[in-house]
């Protein structure tokens, strides 16, 4: 799957799973922080998103706090981590 397609899919997933109102994929900046400021997501959103990503991409969540934070920091990071897992690296 192309990275730009993955980028769009993930944004649509975020909006759908987290029930974000008044937003389309175009409103999400791939490089903007997802948590805290930026999109304003919280730890429950991370939980729900993690569950949804696992379902859709069989994406495994690392136990390491550091890796977790990096992975979920921006859409670009998510795309990178998921692509890497899909490529089997």
């Amino acid at each position: 799957m192309s990275q730009s397609h993955l980028d769009l899919e993930i944004k649509q997933l975020i909006i759908k799973v987290l029930h974000l109102e008044d937003m389309t994929a175009a409103d999400i900046d791939s490089e903007a922080p997802l948590f805290g400021t930026g999109l304003g997501l919280d730890s429950i959103d991370a939980l729900e998103l993690g569950i949804a990503l696992k379902k859709k991409y069989n994406f495994s969540i690392e136990l390491d706090e550091e890796d977790n934070r990096k992975c979920f920091a921006t859409v670009n990071n998510l795309v990178a981590y998921i692509s890497a897992q899909q490529a089997g690296t």
Binding site: T37, L41, D42, S43, A46, K54, I61, L63, D64
Partner: protein, 441 residues
């Protein structure tokens, strides 16, 4: 304490008693060389938190557990502590003067009269301070061990809840230390972490909450069932049914609060009514219909009345039927609705606000806001999304993200029902939430 059993099992490896004691003693020696008395402990890592806690106690200084580690909280409560020990990247730690020489603090003796300071959401604006003595904590731990110890045996203790609140501190840190069971860190966060954990062929105890337990969607046939404790919010009957059907599990639910500590327990699949923990005397306050508590697990010699309304039978077994105050739990975190309304009203663009808890796709806080003139102008210019983000970002230093309003509606006046009243229902209808999914607690 059995010295063969690790005190902590960390990602880096096992920590045994001699190393644990030495880590405490080294920090205690440094603390002794610094004049500050009240130390706020803001830690992500449970081992480092525990070492810091005992080091502060060993030097007869005052450990302070803040309700959260948001920058706004640390600022608002700055008069409640003199120094900070922390491993968090955004917190400025108090610079410590290290002790000269190499002697390690010799045997430290803790006094039962020493206390730990907690803060919890008060029913008015400011967080409420609660002091808990080591005596009271010890009494509670002894009762927990007497009640559940035989089933726990030599299980390892895992957790998905923080050590920084009374529940996590007691169940994940102090009780295992007292009973000689290993504490495993780091905290577990995701359903798949639990799936991996449950498949292990060792005796496991999990200290958890409905936030995670209500989101498990896997089925396993478990020979060796983990023992699960849950607290911090109500475990819905639908969640309990699913856990039992999919995993054969019946979590032990604990009812309590920072003020009262542990109060009652149940396993709702076996018995839906709550029963008091041993040594706790419960009643029903006639004025408010709320649970009244007399207990050796807190230091006040008086009866404390909780905010939970109950129906109690002649044997003292009871069910919860709602709250008498405007304090709610959102995904396990306590929130005073009055306090957050007061805070939001402080914003320069807000004229008035009402908040409400919604049980939609998840528990969340919703806010209905009447903007002032500058606020209305900004809404026109920049749109709703920008204004939402502005307010949420402004609120973030004071309230954890989970508690900030996730859905906002801007109105010119309060919505009225047919009788001309602004009811919860009228507010809820602004959010299109189906009525039967609304949680009354």
């Amino acid at each position: 304490m059995n010295v063969e059993v690790p005190v902590f099992i960390r990602a880096k490896g096992a920590v045994y008693l001699p190393q644990f004691e030495r880590d405490i003693a080294v920090l205690a020696l440094t603390l002794q060389n610094n004049p500050q008395q009240r130390w706020a402990l803001c830690f992500n890592d449970s081992y480092r938190f525990t070492v810091a806690l005992f080091a502060v106690l060993a030097t007869h200084k005052q450990p302070v557990l803040l309700p959260n580690n948001q920058s706004g909280t640390l600022a608002v409560l700055q008069n409640e502590y003199d120094a900070i020990l922390s491993d968090l990247p955004d917190i400025v730690v108090t610079p410590l003067k290290p002790a000269a020489g190499e002697t390690v603090l010799q045997a430290f003796v803790l006094s039962d009269l020493q206390t730990i300071t907690f803060f919890t959401s008060g029913s008015t604006g400011t967080p409420k301070k609660v002091q808990r003595s080591l005596t009271a904590l010890r009494k509670e731990i002894k009762v927990l061990e007497a009640l559940f110890g035989a089933d726990l045996q030599d299980a390892k203790i895992y957790s998905s809840v923080s050590h920084q609140h009374i529940y996590g501190l007691l169940f994940y840190v102090l009780w295992p230390l007292y009973a000689g069971r290993s504490i495993v860190s780091p905290l577990l966060q995701y359903p798949e972490n639990l799936e991996t954990l449950f498949k292990r062929t060792e005796k496991i105890v999990l200290i958890s909450s409905p936030t995670l337990l209500s989101r498990l969607d896997f089925k396993l046939d478990l020979k060796l069932k983990p023992i699960i404790f849950t607290s911090g919010g109500l475990l819905k009957d639908s969640s309990a049914q699913i856990l039992f059907a999919n995993l054969g599990l019946m979590p032990i639910e604990i009812l309590g609060s920072t003020e009262t500590s542990g109060v009652a327990f149940r396993q709702q699949i076996k018995q839906p009514l709550w029963q008091a923990l041993p040594e706790v005397l419960l009643g029903r306050d006639l004025t408010t219909g709320c649970l009244s508590v007399q207990s050796p697990f807190f230091d006040e010699q008086t009866t404390l009345v909780m905010g939970d309304q109950v129906e109690m039978n002649s044997q003292g077994l009871f069910k919860l039927i709602g709250r008498a105050d405007r304090i709610v739990k959102i995904e396990g975190k306590r929130l005073s609705l009055i306090a957050i309304e007061q805070k939001i009203k402080e914003h320069r663009l807000v004229a008035d606000v009402q908040v409400l808890k919604l049980d939609a796709h998840r528990q969340l806080l919703a806010a209905v806001i009447i903007l002032n003139e500058p606020g209305k102008a900004l809404l026109q210019e920049q749109g709703k999304r920008q204004l939402d983000l502005l307010l949420q970002t402004w609120l973030l230093p004071f309230y954890e993200a989970v508690l900030c309003p996730k859905k906002i509606r801007y109105v010119d006046s309060w919505p009225l029902n047919e009788q001309g009243k602004t009811t919860q229902l009228a507010l809820q209808e602004l959010f299109d939430i189906k009525l039967k999914r609304i949680l009354s607690v």
